[in-house]
C-alpha cells in the first residue's frame, strides 16, 4: 500500500515539475534548458515570501507571476532569435541557467535555505499514516493537468496553440499571431516551472543548483511524452513507478537514474516515445 502511494505521489511530483517544460516543448519545439533555473527561482520566491513574513501559500501566485514575467523577457531576448536553431537554443538556455544560478548565489548566498512547511503531518490512508503533503501533490498535479486541458481545449489561446503545434505556417497564414502565441506559451511554461519550484520546497533542500537535479528527469519525460499532457501523465506514472520500485528493491542510487535510462531506451525503440501510442 505504502509502495503504491509512493509510486503515485512520485509520479505526481514528476508531472508537476515536467509540466512547464512540456508546455514549452509542445508548442515551441524548443527545449528550455533553463527549466531547472526556473524551478530554483520558484523555490527562492518561497524563501523570499517567508522572509517577508507573508503566508507561505502566497508564494504560489508570486512565483507564477515572477516566473512568467522573467520568462517573457527571456522569450523576447534569447529564445526568439533561436527558433530556427533548436540545438543552439538548448545551449543558450543552459547558459541562461548558469547566469540565473549565479545571480541567485550572489543575492541569497550559496547556503541551503529552508522554508516553512505548506502542509505538515500525516493522514491515515487505509490504516497507514502517509505524508499529507505528498497527497496534496497528487491533487496539485491533477489541478495543473486539468487546468491545462481546459486551457488547450476551452480557450482561444489554447486553440491557437494547437494550431501552431499542428502546422505553424498554416496557422500564420490564417491570421493567428504566432509570435504572441509563442510568447504566451513560454510565459505560462516558465510560470508553471516557478510554481513547481514552490511546490518542491517541502520535499527538497533549497540551494542555487537545486534545479539541475530535476532538469534531466523532466527533460527525458517530456521527450517521451511529445506534446500531450495525457501522455506526460502516463509517462510519469510508468517511469515514476519504476523509479520507486528500483529505489526500494535495488538501490536508491540506481533509482535516481531509472527515469533517464528507461526513457532513453523507449526512445530508441520508438523515436516518438508514447506520443504515437
Amino acid at each position: 500500500m505504502m509502495l503504491l502511494l509512493d509510486m503515485v505521489t512520485t509520479a505526481a511530483i514528476l508531472f508537476i515539475v515536467a509540466a512547464g517544460l512540456l508546455a514549452i516543448f509542445g508548442v515551441l519545439k524548443i527545449i528550455n534548458f533553463a527549466h531547472g533555473a526556473w524551478l530554483t527561482i520558484g523555490a527562492y520566491c518561497a524563501v523570499a515570501t517567508a522572509g517577508l513574513g507573508l503566508n507561505p501559500w502566497l508564494a504560489l501566485p508570486i512565483a507564477f507571476a515572477v516566473g512568467a514575467v522573467l520568462g517573457g523577457i527571456t522569450e523576447l531576448v534569447i529564445v526568439r532569435p533561436l527558433y530556427r536553431r533548436p540545438l543552439d537554443a538548448i545551449l543558450a538556455t543552459w547558459g541562461l541557467g548558469i547566469v540565473i544560478g549565479q545571480l541567485i548565489t550572489l543575492w541569497f548566498g550559496r547556503d541551503v535555505q529552508f522554508t516553512p512547511n505548506l502542509l505538515s503531518g500525516t493522514v491515515d490512508v487505509f490504516g497507514v499514516g502517509y505524508s499529507l503533503y505528498r497527497l496534496f501533490a497528487v491533487a496539485a498535479a491533477l489541478v495543473i493537468g486539468l487546468a491545462f486541458t481546459f486551457l488547450l481545449e476551452g480557450t482561444r489561446l489554447g486553440l491557437s496553440a494547437q494550431a501552431v503545434i499542428m502546422n505553424e505556417m498554416l496557422a500564420r497564414a490564417l491570421g493567428i499571431d504566432t509570435a504572441r502565441v509563442r510568447l504566451a506559451t513560454f510565459m505560462i511554461g516558465t510560470g508553471l516551472a516557478a510554481l513547481a519550484g514552490v511546490l518542491l520546497t517541502p520535499l527538497t533542500s533549497i540551494d542555487p543548483n537545486m534545479g539541475v537535479a530535476w532538469l534531466i528527469g523532466s527533460f527525458m519525460l517530456v521527450m517521451v511524452a511529445g506534446s500531450s499532457f495525457s501522455t506526460l501523465a502516463i509517462a510519469c506514472l510508468v517511469f515514476g513507478g519504476a523509479q520507486v520500485l528500483v529505489s526500494t528493491f535495488v538501490s536508491p542510487i540506481f533509482g535516481g537514474i531509472t527515469v533517464a535510462v528507461l526513457c532513453a531506451l523507449v526512445l530508441r525503440i520508438s523515436p516518438k516515445g508514447f506520443a504515437r501510442a
Binding site: 540545438l87 545551449l91 543558450a92 548565489t105 550559496r110 537514474i257 526513457c263 532513453a264 526512445l267
Partner: protein, 590 residues
Amino acid sequence: MLESRSTPPRVWLFAALALATAVVVIIGPTLFDRFTLNVLTRSMIYAMLAVTVDILWGYTGILTFGQAAFFGTGAYASAMVLSHLGASPALMVLALALAIIVPVLLGAFVGWLSFGHGSTPLYATVISLVVPIVVTQLVFSGGVWTGSSSGLVGYSGLPLGLPGYFRLTGICLIVTTLVALVFTRSDAGKLLVAIRDNEARCAYLGLDPQRLKIVLTTILAGVAGVAGFLYANASGVVAPENTGFVFGTEIVIWTALGGRGTIIGPVMGAIGIDYLSAQLSGDLPFLWNLVVGSLFVVMIILLPNGLAQLARMVLPRRNGEQASQPGCPTLTAEPAGNGSQPGNRVLAVSGLGKSFGSLQVLQGIDLDVHPGELVSLVGPNGAGKTTLLRCLSDGTEATTGTVTIAGQDISGMTPDEIVALGVGRKFQVASVFDSLTVADCLRMARASRKAPSLLRRSAMLGLPAAAADILRSTGLDRMLGRPVSLLSHGQKQSLELAMVVALEPKLILLDEPTAGLTKVERTTIGATLQKLTGELGFAAILVEHDLDFVRNISTRIVVLHQGKLVLDGSVDQVVNSEVVRTIYSGGAHA
C-alpha cells in the same frame, strides 16, 4: 565559412604555430610558477576534450555532452588500476590500455544507441546527456572501488613531476590538434561536413552516415579516455564531477566560445577560459561564472561561430574569394565502370503497394525497366509518383510487392545499400552540400567507391566521363572551387545530377529535374538525359509534369493515377490515348 583550402601558406602557418607552441611547452616550466603550471596542465587536457567536441559538434553537427563520460571513464579506469593494483611500469601500461579500451567500448555502445536508422539529431543529444549521468551514478555506487563521492586520491602516477606533466600534456595536445587539423581539412574530413549539411544526400550517395558517426564517436571516446589517463596522473585525484554532465556542458561552452568548426578556436577557448577561471575565481568567485555564462548566451545568439568568427572578420582575408585558384582541383577522367548488359532488366517491380494506415497510396504496380530506356512517369498531383520513386530507392518503404534491382530483391535494404546496387536518385529540390565546394560535393559522390584520403586534400578530381560532360555542358567545370552556397538554383540542379551520374548508377531516378529551370537549362538537362540513356546505356525514370518535355526525350511513358498504373506504352500511344486526356482534363477525378 568553414572551408579553408590547404594552400601551401596554410600548411606553413600550421607548422609554424605548432613549432611555436612546442617551444612554449618545452621551455614553459622555466617560465611559469607552480600554480600556473598546474592550471595550464589541466587546461591543456581540457583543450584535448574540446577538440573532440569540436569534431563531433562543430564539424559533424552532433551536439554532445557525453565526452565528459568518456573522459571520466578513462580517468577512473587509470586511477582504479593505480590505486588498487599499483603503479609499476607494467601496470601503468595496463592503466593506459584500459583508459583507452573502456571508453572505446562504451563509445561504440553509445554510438550504436544514438545512431540507428532514422534516429533524430536530438536523440543523440539526449543519449549524450544520459550517459554521463549513468556513469556518475555508477561511480557513486562503486564503494571503495571508485571511492564513491569523495573520489580516488593518493595513488602514485607517472614519475614525471610538474614540469614533466606539463610537457607531456602539451605534446599530447599539439599532436591531437595537428591530427584534428589535418583530418578535418582532408578529403575524408569533408565527409563530416557533408553529414552535417545533408545526411539524406550522404545516404543516397551510397555512404552510411550512421555508421560513420558510430565510428567517429568510438574513436573520439578513446581520445577522451587518453585525456582522462593524463588527468588522473597529472592531478593525482579523480572525482565524480569529472564524469558528470555539467562538465560535459562546460566543454561545449569552451568549444562554442572559441569557435566551433575551427579546431584552433576550441583549443584557445578551453585554455583561455579554464586558465582565467582559475586565476579569477579566487577573487570573484561567482561573478566570473556569471560573466562566462552571459558571454556564452550572447555568443550563441549573435556569433554562433564564436570568437574565431570575430577574429576572421577583423583579420584581412588572405586568400579571399579566389574561386578557381590554387585550391581548385583539376578534372581528370576516371575509367568507366562495367556498364550493364543490354537486354537484362535493371528494374523489375511487381505488385508494389504502399499505404499509410488505411490510405492506399500505391497499389498493384508492375513495371520493368531495361538499360538504355528513359521512362517518364506522369500523372496528376497526388498520383503517387514521388512515393513510387521512394519505394524504389529505400527498401523499407514499400508495404506489399517486390522490387528487384539488377536481379536483387531490395526489401528491407537502406538507401546506401540500394545505391551500391546501382541506383542514383536526384531529388525534387536540389539536394547538395551547401557548405562544401562544387568539387567536394562531387568527391562525396565518389567516396563510396574509393575511400577518401584521411590526410590529404587531393588536387585531382576523378570523374567518369558522363559526369564530367554534364559539368562541361553547364559550365560548372569552371567553378569547381566555388562554394555551393553561391550557385544558382539551376546550377545546383545540374550539380546534383552530375553527382548522381558520378555514382555510375545503372538506374537513375529523377524527380522533376527541370522544375524552376529556364528554357535553356531545361534543354541542356534534356539533352544530357538523352545522351546518358541513348548512348551510354543508363536507364532512367523521370517524374515530370511538363508533357512537351516528356514527349521530346522519353522512350516510354508510364501514367500513374490515384495510386494505380493506368498506362504503359510508347510516347505516341500514351500521348494520343483517351485515358490521359481524361485524367488531365480532370474528368476521371472523383
